[in-house]
């Protein structure tokens, strides 16, 4: 079973990398860009057959290590 | 996998003659793995086939030299049972393709070359050449290369203390990224690559092997019958964290006597490392490829042997010491695998899945490597440009301001502030001066180091330019007070199959050799990078010299900044006003023409010896070598380097019968600007040494006043000097 985890900065936390990407996009002529936020994408392979149990485990991983919940949110998707 | 090209050698960039030699050596046709091994071992990169004939002419010996060219890096005695180990190496093409990873892996590779020999790396330097600032790729390349060098060096924790950068349109399609590492070892703990002895375990350590960097260019043009795989990535990705672990693990194992031989897996990976060790040790090696730790499944013998995955080492251990070594690598969480043994066969044998995948006699593989005497034509001589042929600017102060604010001479702070130049706690003289000075940890001794080359001089006159590159590096090391010991060189040129390019290489090597001999500074290591050209347009010939010197007491080092008002300023060496090929000429006329300034090696040495002697005696308060932009720029640099808030400038008074602008901006060689509170001591010492030393003025508060120029505040010079590069990079 595989978990797909998206980690993003909480709204309100300054994202200098996102800002730089936005500036670069604008510089390239993409003038419809209003905001860019960047984050991380992590895949975890699990030896687990129960989706809920997997979600609980991955959620624990996010709380303990994968995300810094002071500034980051995480979003978990469990796929077979 | 079978080969379908009509002439199989076409697959791998070998010539028909070279292929015939392979048939002769093997007595049969090679399989694809064997052909790959011959191809990389006989590549320009590994065999130096175009340059070897000329490299052999370089002076490589001296009482201080423990190991000259031919090992992973050069080794030079610095006394007290210690040695300095250093080398420079190019990573030009990969850095153009992917600047961050290309530069990062360049740093990683040269670090491994140095710690493979038992040294702890203590400093990194680099020599960078980029295209014209207005070329669309330049900004991206500068940003990526600088971030990559910093990303690797900062993480592994070796300070990046010096380097140089030039911009020129000839590098638009071929940037140069030359990285140098300096390390320190005990003279009784230096490790070599000769796998002497049979039945010894061959051990693989470090990262796992993937398909990184396999035979990039040749793979792309090859056609394989049953190979429908996706195009393989050829860009290697650096992992400085793993390299830090590898460094610590290797040094820990080296503290024991378990290692017989060690070789890093750099270009051509497992192939060149195993062949090198077998060849030098005069033994055979059998490798069981099934035991090679790997990151990807389904790798062929060819791919395993030619992978350029980073952060890997090959070692030959004393028999029975495997477990001890394994424990150390396990502690550092690195792969460790016994993948073969040495034997008396003299052959490289590769086994995979029980099948023999290659069987090549090592000695002919190495000895029969091609060596070419490529045709060459000497560079046509350039006329000498007289000073009065170059117009004087209306105001020489304005000329100075535009020079110090130009891409060529502006501050490199934007670059070196992205490098951790202080980690390890021994950086005595930081970047921005003539040479960096790094204390030998736990002692009062220091190592001074600098990289230099003036490509426009080399283009105009390769011999003189080769001499000048050595002289300037030697001068920079001298200017902090150190005694230059030896050099490493990185010869970057265009296509050697063109006689005029080959002529540049031949001339530059001649000049380097002459200067190294005259200055007692032999070449102990180096690297050659050829074929740096795009659409038939070659780069400027760029033979970069890295010089290392030793200083017995770092507390006596002198820096370039003016220290206080009221010091007397001297120029050591003769000023003749040589404006040909100068930056002033380019600033005024838009181009450089004419012969470069000649290097008088005898006075170069005499002048430098005097300066070193004055520094050792504590006579000088500041010292700076005179190079690009001449005296005016040297004086401006000394003023700008003074403490912000208490700016020190200078008032210069000279009577000279040469045009003032040529006195200020001429690039005569062998000169230093020095300041002193004891002018008589300088006069006396210079007289004794028979060296020209002219008092040209005094240091003053806050303003630089030059003949023929409006007085300029140090703050104005500094502001101009500092803004070009950050502004340029921000404009992207």
């Amino acid at each position: 079973m595989k978990a797909r985890i998206h980690i993003t900065l909480k709204s309100g936390v300054l994202d200098p990398q996102g800002k730089a990407i936005q500036q670069a996009l604008t510089g390239l002529g993409f003038d419809a860009v209003e905001d860019v936020r960047q984050g991380k994408y992590i895949e975890v392979e699990l030896s687990e057959s129960d989706a809920e149990a997997a979600r609980t485990k991955v959620s624990d991983m996010c709380e303990k290590l994968l995300a810094n919940t002071v500034i980051e949110n995480y979003d978990i998707e469990i796929v077979d | 996998m079978s080969i379908t090209a009509s002439r199989p050698q076409d697959l791998m960039g070998l010539s028909a003659d070279e292929y015939d030699t392979i048939l002769e050596i093997l007595g049969r046709a090679p399989n694809v793995t064997e052909l790959g091994i011959f191809s990389v071992m006989w590549s320009e990169h590994c065999s130096y086939k175009s340059s070897k004939k000329w490299l052999k002419t370089l002076p490589t010996e001296g009482p201080q030299v423990i190991q000259g060219p031919g090992e992973n890096a050069g080794v030079v005695d610095i006394g007290d049972g210690q040695a300095v180990i250093f080398k420079i190496e190019s990573h030009n093409h990969p850095s153009f393709i992917e600047p961050y990873q290309g530069a990062a892996t360049g740093v990683g590779g040269i670090l491994r070359d140095v710690f493979t020999m038992g040294a702890r790396p203590v400093a990194n330097l680099n020599a960078l050449r980029f295209g014209s600032p207005d070329h669309p790729k330049t900004r991206h390349l500068v940003g990526g290369v600088v971030a990559g060098i910093g990303g690797y060096g900062n993480c592994i924790g070796v300070p990046t203390v010096g380097g140089e950068v030039n911009f020129d349109p000839s590098y638009n399609g071929n940037i140069l990224v030359n990285a140098m590492t300096v390390g320190i070892a005990s003279t009784d703990k230096i490790f070599y690559s000769a796998a002497a002895g049979v039945d010894l375990p061959v051990v693989y350590v470090g990262s796992k092997t993937g398909r990184d960097g396999i035979h990039g260019a040749t793979m792309a043009s090859a056609e394989f019958a049953d190979d429908s795989d996706e195009k393989r990535p050829t860009v290697q990705v650096g992992d400085p964290f793993t390299e830090k672990l590898l460094l610590e693990a290797c040094l820990e194992l080296m503290a024991t006597d378990a290692i017989v031989a060690i070789q890093d897996m750099g270009a051509a990976g497992l192939t060149s490392s195993s062949v090198e060790m077998a060849s030098k040790g005069d033994v055979g090696i059998e490798l069981d490829l099934d035991r090679v730790p790997r990151r990807e499944s389904g790798m062929t013998a060819y791919e395993i042997m030619l992978s350029e995955s980073q952060e890997r080492m090959l070692m030959v251990l004393q028999p029975g010491r495997e477990d001890e070594a394994r424990r150390i690598f396990a502690k550092w969480e690195l792969d460790f695998a016994v993948i073969g043994t040495t034997n008396a066969s003299g052959r490289l044998t590769l086994i995979e899945g029980g099948n023999e995948e290659a069987n090549i006699p090592v000695a002919p593989l190495v000895a029969a490597a091609p060596e070419y005497d490529r045709p060459w034509t000497p560079a046509p001589p350039c006329a000498v440009v007289n000073a009065d042929e170059v117009p004087a600017a209306d105001d020489l102060g304005d000329a100075l301001i535009s020079l110090v604010g130009s891409p060529e001479l502006c501050s490199r702070r934007w670059i070196w502030e992205q490098y951790d130049h202080m980690v390890m706690g021994d950086t005595v003289v930081r970047p921005g001066g003539d040479a960096a000075l790094v204390r030998v940890h736990g002692t009062g001794k220091g190592l001074a180091m600098a990289t230099d080359c003036t490509p426009r001089y080399v283009e105009a006159n390769p011999i003189e330019g080769g001499r000048q590159a050595v002289a300037e590096a030697w001068r920079n090391v001298t200017a902090v007070g150190a005694t230059p010991l030896a050099v490493t060189n990185n010869l970057n040129f265009g296509n050697p199959e063109r006689p005029e390019i080959m002529g540049q290489l031949v001339g530059a090597v001649q000049g380097i050799g002459e200067a190294c001999t005259a200055l007692d500074c032999p070449v102990v290591s180096g690297n050659v990078s050829l074929y740096n050209e795009t659409n038939g347009k070659a780069i400027l010939p760029t033979p970069v010299i890295g010089c290392v010197g030793v200083m017995s007491d770092v507390a006596k080092a002198v820096t370039l900044d003016f220290k206080a008002a009221g010091d007397t300023i001297f120029v050591i060496g003769e000023t003749l006003g040589w404006l040909g090929c100068s930056l002033y000429q380019r600033q005024i006329t838009g181009d450089t023409t004419g012969a470069p300034p000649p290097v008088d090696l005898a006075s170069e040495r005499k002048n430098g010896d005097l300066v070193r002697h004055l520094i050792a005696d504590g006579v000088l308060t500041a010292c700076h070598d005179v190079s690009d932009g001449g005296l005016a720029v040297a004086l401006a640099e000394m003023a700008m380097a003074s403490e912000i808030g208490t700016d020190i400038g200078a008032t210069i008074n000279v009577s000279t019968d040469i045009p003032t602008h040529s006195w200020l901006f001429g690039e005569d060689q062998g000169r230093y600007v020095v300041t002193t509170a004891a002018p008589e001591a300088v006069v006396d010492a210079a007289a004794t040494a028979g060296v020209a030393a002219h008092a040209i003025g005094v240091t003053t508060v806050s303003t630089l006043t030059l003949p023929g120029a409006r007085p300029i505040s140090v703050a104005e010079i500094r502001a101009t000097h500092e803004h070009w590069l950050p502004d340029y990079m921000a404009a992207g």
Partner: protein
Amino acid sequence: MPAAVIVFPGSNCDRDVAVALEAATGRPPAMVWHQESSLPQCDLIVVPGGFSYGDYLRSGAMAAHSPILRTVIDRAHAGTPVLGICNGFQILAEARLLPGVLMRNASLKFVCRDVDLRVERTDTIFTSGYATGQVLRVPIAHHDGNYFTDAETLQRLEDGGQIAFRYCDSDGNVTADANPNGSIANIAGILNAQGNVLGMMPHPERLAEALLGGTDGAAMFGALAEAIAA
């Protein structure tokens, strides 16, 4: 043994801080490998700079979960002084021994240079060698030194006197120009509420010797040596 330095895979300022500690205390500190679960007898714990675990994932995140950190946290709660420098600060923040996080520098670039720091507190064992408002020159060398915390926590830090150092100009003025990395309120170093844990991005161990360009960092190690000897 008066001081212990924690060494992670990827630490690279461990030797530098050990040199400064030995100069101040007269004896070398214990170097403690990350896989240890216990600390030797010590009265000061230093978490040094570097790139623990390559700073992969987030600077300091993985080191904050290493076995030795559990012991460090326990000892910190029990009152043992803990000093985190650069990556050490990032680790202590990730371990929640200190509030807030160190984000990517506002410039997005690694920056290595001397900065001026204003001393905000002198009544701590770390800073008792300085005068209030004194301006120190100490180098920074980091990619992720942009201190951030929410408004409420910031207020608590301000009110509780938990800000130890701020980036300032050479006259001690806390200005935007003097801020090298975008840190909120120019924060360069903070204390925990009890005052026994200090995290700072600048490297006092790098300017603790005149030959290397300055000695402003030495007073911190001098003060610590005195405190733990007493």
